[in-house]
Symmetry: C2
Subunit: 396 residues, 2 copies
């Protein structure tokens, strides 16, 4: 989602090491030599009003695990409640824990392809029995949707503020490691294809509101204007801007493999605009935008609109500053230099919850070589599942 550098600890890391590997959805291509089975992880939690009677509860549950022919193992928790694990002959593994402060957690891990009805029966039986045993002492029963771990098709893509989100992904459409980043295009049942760069959801085919917001939310007149797009390899902005009959659009995208993937698999976003890198009123330069911006600034070339659609931590072939914030500032400074008086600079900011990062960015805007003013707008981008801030910046 292209967020500026974040100063909060990220609870999720996603490292994809896919070069030279079979595509993730490789079972469809028959190129994998061993069966791919995800682990299905079920949870069932009872939050209690007061600590429960451990031995009565455990005794009451015994028959359920015995019926399942699971081998029980009671662990010494050094006074931190009760913990038993259970192993089934089919590799099922269960954990029952009764915390001394009044919380019962149950986990069940089994392999994809296990008998779902049997697993459901076990969970239902356990829930029913615990309800009876803990009657009157229950504050909340929570059974989360099953966690699918190690699947070929990864459905979990956290928000920019680090929350767990399960997407309705059913297919890996495209996956490459370019010289710059890991590129994935995944199919979502409701959002269409989604472009994911280095684990960040960038844009889905459903996300016209993103493109509209980063172009000024329909309040600008592009006809006859000169436009510079930084990044934008998915072709969304270019596709929408071309329709508005500008004089000329120059787009500078560093990563040809992003363009390739989106040209093939994000047609609802880019239309046919990426079929050729040059059109009647546009040109796509497959280059690092920093030297291009410098060249334009030196030549005195200017634009009516500069649209920064670069990724989170902008990619460069030769970053000149150590700090990402300083690098962001370099791009901003250069962009404002090539902006005509009266022109506008548009960019996406961050998720609305990352207030520290947003404040830091706005501070940066106050420290540019050229004085600028800005406005911001909060937009709901369908595939993001969190509200996103967009900035409009202009010379004072």
């Amino acid at each position: 989602m292209n967020q500026p550098p974040q100063h909060f600890p990220c609870t999720t890391s996603e490292l994809e090491l896919s070069t030279d590997s079979p595509p993730a959805a490789s079972s469809r291509h028959g190129r994998r030599l061993y069966p791919i089975m995800a682990v299905l992880h079920y949870t069932l939690d009872f939050k209690l009003r007061a600590p429960a009677d451990v031995s009565a509860t455990v005794h009451g549950l015994q028959s359920i695990f015995q019926e399942q022919e699971m081998t029980e193992n009671v662990h010494n928790l050094y006074g931190h409640g009760y913990l038993a694990t259970f192993v089934g002959k089919n590799g099922r593994f269960a954990i029952l824990r009764m915390h001394s402060h009044g919380l019962v957690t149950f986990d069940l891990q089994c392999l994809e392809g296990d008998d779902v009805a049997q697993v459901d029966n076990l969970l239902n039986a356990l829930e029913k029995k615990l309800k009876a045993l803990l009657d009157g002492n229950i504050q909340r029963i929570k059974r989360l949707p099953v966690l699918i771990r190690g699947s070929d098709v990864d459905r979990y893509w956290p928000t920019a503020d680090g929350r767990l989100m399960e997407y309705d992904i059913d297919e890996v459409v495209y996956e490459k490691d370019s010289a710059y980043q890991n590129i994935k295009i995944l199919h979502s049942r409701q959002f269409g294809n989604i472009l994911i760069l280095n684990g960040d959801v960038n844009l889905a085919e459903s996300d016209l509101p993103y493109t509209q917001a980063i172009m000024g939310s329909g309040k600008e007149h592009y006809a006859g204007k000169e436009v510079l797009i930084l990044g934008g390899g998915d072709g969304g902005i270019l596709h929408e801007a071309v329709k508005l009959k500008p004089k000329m659009i120059t787009m500078v995208e560093i990563d040809e493999l992003v363009i390739d993937g989106c040209r093939k698999h994000m047609r609802k976003t880019c239309g046919n605009v990426l079929d050729n890198l040059k059109g009647d009123c546009y040109e796509v330069l497959v280059q690092d935008c920093v030297p291009v911006l410098k060249k334009f600034a030196e030549q005195g070339r200017t634009f009516d609109y500069v649209i920064n659609d670069l990724t989170a931590v902008p990619i460069s072939t030769a970053p000149e500053e150590d700090s990402t914030w300083e690098f962001l500032r370099l791009i901003l400074d250069l962009s404002i230099r090539v902006l005509r008086p009266g022109g506008k600079y548009f960019t996406q900011g961050n998720c609305v919850n990352l207030t520290d990062a947003l404040r830091e960015y706005e501070k940066l805007l106050g420290r540019l070589s050229c004085k600028v003013d800005f406005s911001k707008e909060v937009v709901c981008v369908p595939s993001y599942m969190e509200l996103w801030v967009f900035y409009t910046i202009w010379k004072k």
Copy 2:
């Protein structure tokens, strides 16, 4: 989210038994006698290209658990890979499993209030060591955002199609069990307060797009018209409709406690419209809508717009039909009877992914006593985190 009956197995159940209990955010009210600590559940998964050497990997990891002074227990998995559990003196519990088909899963459960830096160090050390040990054989490393289990403030509210979503909930604002349902209003950092009925996300203060869609997406002229709202206890539709100067709005909401909660805590949605149940151009009847509809039908009273904003499985004081679909049909039939020729009936349908339920609903529309036509629209409602279908229905 008010979805019609679903014929798919629901992977999530949420049973709240809060009557007579201290409020969920009770620690703030000092009414709870024992400390509330959630369990933090971390996961770290390595998806491999090929099965790994178990003994070399396990041997390589030993020092990490020894350093943590965790007691190891190796379980017999009956040939289904390797499984070891580890218990720490502070109640930490870890599970390392190496599946024979090339997946390594690691779980770490600890209590809220545990040393986060230490836990992070353990996870980082493990990730680093596994990276080294499995070098060249790694296809994906996945570390999900931590699961928070048994917290006072429940952040997990699944989508209508059963996917796991973590909301940025930070406070329980209101919680009641009425005669009809469990009512919660939770505060989301980005969406404002969210009304949740029986575990279903109904409406957040951010969700004006929902209200606009169920009123005809700005394409209708309400001025001077007569409007009937079924349900709508959050006051959102009433608040927006009143602005449009209709002749009269009649709203029929069964649950006074929903109105009470929303009047206090959903002000961005309802404004001051629920402060009085009667206004210049509206009246709120706190009644079951079925007898009211029957009375209107008998009296020959008709409306220009009927807006059905009832919950998923509509609540009734005396449902006359066993099947929920038949009950839905009863409400639809009665609503169409009180609709003027040329009038429109608006309702929300379901999440766009539940194609079977949507198809079933559309079949129902073909079986009404009065022939109707319909159109539908897919809308992004911010707090839903999934695209939603809305229907416009009119007499043929």
